[in-house]
């Protein structure tokens, strides 16, 4: 039971039609999450990580997006479901919390009622019947004085509290998977730490898997078991956090880890990655990181690297050891 994968994404491709052009946002992305694990998806702005999360939920903003690939949740391929059937999962077995707690809540409805909405939708309960579950969820999200806050409106709460409301909303139907799209980016550092601790605690106590999306390595380091590194829509490295952080194999991952400022570096130049991130949807023929890679070879520029494995929990895409490569995907 513990080794069975809750969510298995394979060959995910997200494209966007813009006028006459077709932009590739995410290319051949594959990863899996076991029940109870926390997978961190890291990437810079425009790497496609948010859109990946939205595509799992089926919430891409407009019809010009095309998603191909398998998104298998608990044995069911979500990508092949029609809208109605897919909706049954949202807020129910899979829920999501967003980056901007300020604007993600309906300004006209009391937060308690917004938290009880998933129960209304999926279990046909009314507000009264759902009340106790809502209070319980608010407690899980570590909201102080739930009975009082139930009647508050979003504008009366601080950013941190609003994010906890979102968490309560996401927990109220006891989901199996929680997708967190940069939930702490818009909050100050102190509140950030509190929210992260809460998420970790909830995941452990309720055995909920979390897909945690962020651009901040330190945040991912603090709560995730596994990590997937995304660059310009392609998966660069993937594996257990402990392995990847101690022995990064992909050049981008290495450079990313190096770029975290450490106290010992005080006074010295920071190790930034030279060059800039390519625009979203840019077409690559080879490895997307090749223009900025220190170890770039000719083959990198025209051939997308296969996946190699460092060990059974650690995979990376790179051309550096071409002889010993077996394409291993989960």
């Amino acid at each position: 039971m513990k080794n069975k994968f809750l969510l298995s994404v394979s060959g995910l491709n997200i494209t966007l039609e813009k006028g006459s052009k077709t932009l590739t946002i995410v290319r051949d992305l594959s990863f899996s999450i076991r029940q109870g694990d926390i997978l961190g998806l890291i990437g810079e702005s425009g790497s496609g990580k948010s859109l990946t999360a939205l595509s799992i939920m089926g919430l891409l903003p407009n019809k010009n997006f095309r998603v191909t690939g398998d998104i298998v949740f608990n044995g069911v391929n979500l990508n092949q479901l029609n809208k109605k059937n897919r909706r049954k999962y949202l807020g129910n077995e899979i829920s999501m919390i967003f980056q901007e707690p300020m604007t993600s809540l309906n300004p006209l409805v009391q937060v308690g009622k917004q938290i009880s909405e998933p129960l209304k939708i999926h279990q046909s309960l009314n507000d009264k019947q759902a009340y106790s579950s809502v209070i319980k969820a608010m407690g899980l999200a570590e909201l102080p004085n739930p009975e009082a806050i139930y009647n508050y409106y979003p504008h009366q709460l601080s950013g941190g509290l609003r994010q906890r409301v979102m968490i309560a909303m996401a927990l109220v139907c006891t989901p199996k998977l929680l997708i967190a799209d940069e939930p702490t980016t818009a909050l100050d550092v102190v509140v950030q730490k509190e929210i992260l601790t809460s998420i970790k605690k909830i995941s452990k106590e309720l055995n909920i898997s979390v897909l945690f999306i962020s651009h901040d390595l330190r945040v991912i380091k603090s709560i995730c078991n596994d990590i997937a590194v995304l660059y310009a829509g392609s998966l660069m490295e993937y594996g257990k956090c402990t392995h990847v952080f101690s022995k990064p194999q992909n050049e981008y991952t290495k450079a990313l880890l190096l770029s975290i400022p450490k106290p010992e570096q005080k006074g010295k130049l920071l190790d930034a990655i030279p060059g800039i991130v390519p625009p979203t949807g840019h077409i690559f023929s080879g490895c997307p990181f090749s223009p900025r890679c220190k170890q770039v070879k000719d083959i990198c520029k025209y051939k997308m690297p296969d996946f190699h494995s460092e060990n059974e929990n650690h995979f990376y895409a790179c051309h550096k050891e071409e002889e010993s490569g077996e394409r291993k995907n989960t």
Partner: protein, 313 residues
Amino acid sequence: MKYIFTKLLMSVGVLIVISILVFATFQILPGDPVNVILGTNSTPERVEQLTKQLSLDKPLYERYLLLIQGIFRGDLGVSIKYQMPVSQILSSRLPVTITLAVMSLIFIVSISYLMGLIAGKNYDNIVGKCIVGICNFFTAVPSYFLCILMIIIFSLILKVFQTGSFIAYSDSPLGYFTYFILPAFSIAIPNSAMLIKFLSGSIYDQSKQEYIRTARSKGASEMRVLIHHNVKNALIPAVTMLGMIIADILCGSIVVEQIFNIPGIGRLLITSIGARDFPMLQILSMFIAAVVVIINFTVDIIFKLIDPRVRIE
């Protein structure tokens, strides 16, 4: 609470100023009402008698106070043209205009909210653009021309209606209400067009907000997202338009009553101007302006009550 009280005070202030202005306009500027009434029958004694009767010999401010006292007592003066108490004429005409106005409002609200919803949901595609395009057209059509067109189409071409004369309620309630359908419709359409454009834009703007995405992430169906989340937020700015629309309905009814010979306040206004019936005009003007002020005040209060962001400070 404090806000309501202040607003009330200000509205009352506006009403007082309006009454003074209207009074001043009709008492000071125009000609001599005594001569108008008596016409060729004037003799010095009759002039003196009528002047006393109309309190025209008293100073202005006293006349004003008499007028206000009279209003509170229910005595609104005597119409020069009809030689009857103004209150009597008003009470017979008012229900008619109210019927017309209420019917127009019902039409406007039902058409606008339905079409506004559809247009807002389909803002990006051809359905929405067609609806908005049609609305753009109708805002350019004056209501009286619509009346004429509809009469031509229904009576001449389709031979459905027979535009007869006004049917009193006492004669036939059904006929009474049926008679109002065409007029109410022609007032409703230009106003609906405006409201639809506004509502659809508002709904579309709201649909781009993030809390809509949150609602979807909870598994809400499109219908639920639309009605529970989208529309609720889009309605609030639309409430502010209600005041303007009602003022517009009043203007529309003035014209439409002329066309269809409806014995309402609007027609009364026009005939009073022609007859220079100043006592009547005075009361009518104050009354209509007062209605608008009261409605605007009510709309303002409702608006503040609905939006919790403003309510809870």
